[in-house]
């Protein structure tokens, strides 16, 4: 009798657990709209952009993509091979489809990542010979600040160098303009790993940061196709294979995001000098960042990173 009761209790507990985990009939309740963008070559050419109204609870990145585009999958449906006829695996097998949700590269198959109301999904087909670890991108601003990741919003902290007060204020204003409230902290303050950090300052001041120092290691580690020189006064803008295309010096700015391990992304609003940091802070704008993996500002001109063609060509 006791054994039977134990079994009944175990079954009841299992059923309760499945119900609590979100078990139920149908696709589930809807939770607002989601956007999906499909591009080529690091966002340089848009294949399609759609808005999906009334995203159901059970929606995954794969379902959202299949609902809006013609998708070919591999390996049991978790890996995208082609979208609208553009196949991965070409040119020596180093061109493939990658996706980011709210500016953060997902580390799971597209059929395992849920889409929540307000999320933005970005698929890009590009050559990954320069870097296969582009952990975070800035082109979905105001994400990840507005909706976070996996349905969870993160607190936003603005850490500014003392020499970049004007730029810090500009960055704060730009974030406020898109409805993101960021608390201010002094540069170097320790924060928890689940806090979105926006670091503002010259590269000489920021490069000691544990996450941002990935940029000094090159695109293969950071996913940012730009590299400062040893004293941080010159900025090399790189092509998709990590080769230097342009060197920016005085007044050059950079807006980039990196992701260290399992941490949430860290954004860098930086430059070769104070002027560069200021113009980078002003570039923290929805229109200017749209569809860019990272943005450099050289001689007052926006340069999308990686550099696909010589600026001005």
């Amino acid at each position: 009798m006791t054994k039977r009761r134990t079994v009944a209790l175990a079954v009841a507990a299992a059923l309760s657990a499945t119900v609590a985990a979100g078990c139920g009939a149908g696709a589930g309740e809807t939770s607002g709209e989601a956007r999906i963008l499909v591009t080529h070559d690091f966002g340089s050419r848009v294949i399609g952009a759609r808005i999906q109204q009334d995203v159901p609870e059970s929606e995954t990145v794969m379902r959202l993509t299949e609902r809006n585009f013609d998708v070919e999958t591999r390996y049991g449906g978790g890996f995208v091979q082609a979208i609208d006829g553009t196949e991965g695996g070409g040119e020596g097998g180093k061109v493939d489809w990658f996706y980011w949700v709210n500016g953060i590269l997902a580390d799971k198959g597209a059929d395992e990542v849920d889409v929540h109301g307000g999320d933005q999904v970005w698929w890009d087909h590009h050559d990954w010979s320069g870097s296969d670890r582009i952990g975070a991108v800035v082109g979905q601003f105001p994400e990840p600040f507005a909706h976070g990741a996996e349905g969870k919003r993160y607190p936003v902290v603005l850490q500014c160098a003392s020499s970049a007060e004007t730029a810090c204020q500009a960055a704060s204003d730009q974030l406020s303009a898109v409805g993101v409230h960021a608390s201010r902290q002094t540069l170097g303050t320790n924060v928890e790993t689940e806090v979105l950090r926006v670091m503002v300052g010259t590269w000489r001041e920021l490069r000691r940061d544990q996450a941002l120092r990935l940029i000094d290691r090159g695109p293969a580690s950071s996913g940012v196709f730009a590299r400062f020189d040893a004293d941080g006064r010159s900025l090399a803008l790189l092509d998709p294979r990590g080769r230097e295309r342009v060197t920016a010096t005085t007044g050059a700015g950079l807006v980039a995001a990196v992701k260290l391990g399992d941490q949430v992304p860290t954004w860098a609003i930086t430059g070769t000098d104070e002027d560069g940091v200021e113009i980078a802070a002003q570039a923290l704008d929805l229109q200017r960042l749209r569809d860019h993996f990272a943005l450099a500002i050289d001689g007052g001109r926006d340069v999308s990173l990686p550099v696909l063609r010589q600026p001005g060509a």
Binding site: A21, G22, A25, A27, S58, T60, R63, G77, D111
Partner: protein
């Protein structure tokens, strides 16, 4: 469920032709996802079996295969996360992640089950109507020893079956509690090893090791009208299947959403699939009404002709 000689045009056809017909039906089942086509292939196999006098055998096989098909139909929607129409959510499960049951995966599970049944019916027909000795004789020029080994192995299966029944009967006659099935299996296995030693000794005595490849001509027989009719039917089915696939007849897409083209061409295709293997049964000339297990008239004619040194087409 093995081969038994019966008086039917299909039994009268040579082994290569009979197996060709069954393989053509299996090919249809493997090439198409459309449930109508799969049902047509299965129906064709069942009707051909009924006309060949092995309908009861096929029905028994089908009943045995049903649990297997049911398992496929139930497992696929649980294992596959493809498809856009979610009909049940299991939520986040430990180790498995998010599990959703989609309409598409459920339908595809049923399609896979139907395909399995169609293939099983095709090969059940094959084992019921194709003389295994005649079939293995086809391969004796390729590998005489392998053909002989396979023949002996297939012959031993029904012998062991009969052994098992006899031993089980004997066990039941003994007083005391009934012995376990393990004891029965042990006795049958020991008997099989004894028989294997006897067969090996017999082969040695008969000079099995000294045998040479048989000459090409002595087993060639001219094609009978049943051979030609069923051969043409098999070729027509195979050509129809491949041609229809290339032409896109009876297109059925499951993922990401269900879509079927059940037009007049698809219906005609299914009807042709059912009719083609049945047409040769219309010609029953030369097929006697002999009892099951005996030689039909064609078999007898062939036997007599072989003794005379020739066979009439």
């Amino acid at each position: 469920m093995g081969y038994q000689r019966r008086s039917s045009p299909l039994h009268a056809a040579r082994a290569a032709v009979g197996s060709g017909l069954c393989c053509a039906l299996a090919l249809v089942a493997l090439l198409y996802d459309d449930p109508l086509v799969l049902a047509a292939a299965m129906a064709a196999g069942l009707l051909a079996g009924a006309l060949a006098g092995v309908g009861a055998t096929l029905r028994r096989t089908l009943l045995l295969a049903l649990p297997f098909a049911l398992a496929i139909a139930l497992l696929n929607p649980l294992a596959s996360q493809q498809g856009l129409t979610v009909i049940w959510r299991f939520g986040e499960l430990p180790l498995l992640g998010q599990r959703d049951v989609t309409l598409e995966a459920t339908v595809y599970g049923l399609v896979l089950a139907l395909r399995a049944l169609a293939v099983i019916v095709a090969f059940a027909l094959f084992s019921a109507v194709v003389d295994p000795d005649q079939l293995l004789r086809l391969f004796r020029r390729v590998s005489f020893r392998s053909a002989l080994t396979a023949t002996l192995a297939t012959r031993l299966v029904p012998v062991l079956q009969r052994d098992g029944q006899r031993i089980a009967d004997a066990q039941r006659c003994r007083p005391g509690p009934p012995p376990s099935r393990v004891a029965l299996v042990r006795a049958v296995t020991a008997g099989a090893l004894d028989r294997a030693v006897d067969v090996a000794a017999a082969l040695e005595v008969r000079g099995y090791g000294a045998v040479r490849r048989p000459p090409r001509g002595d087993w060639r027989e001219p094609w009978s009208r049943h051979d030609r009719a069923f051969g043409l039917a098999a070729l027509a089915i195979a050509a129809l299947a491949v041609g229809g696939r290339i032409a896109g007849v009876a297109g059925f897409e499951v993922y990401p959403t269900l879509s079927a083209s059940w037009d007049a061409a698809a219906i005609a295709f299914c009807l042709a699939l059912i009719a083609l293997p049945l047409l040769p049964f219309l010609d029953r000339r030369g097929i006697g009404e002999s009892a099951a297990g005996g030689l039909d008239s064609l078999g007898r004619t062939r036997l007599a002709a072989r003794s005379r040194g020739h066979v009439d087409g």
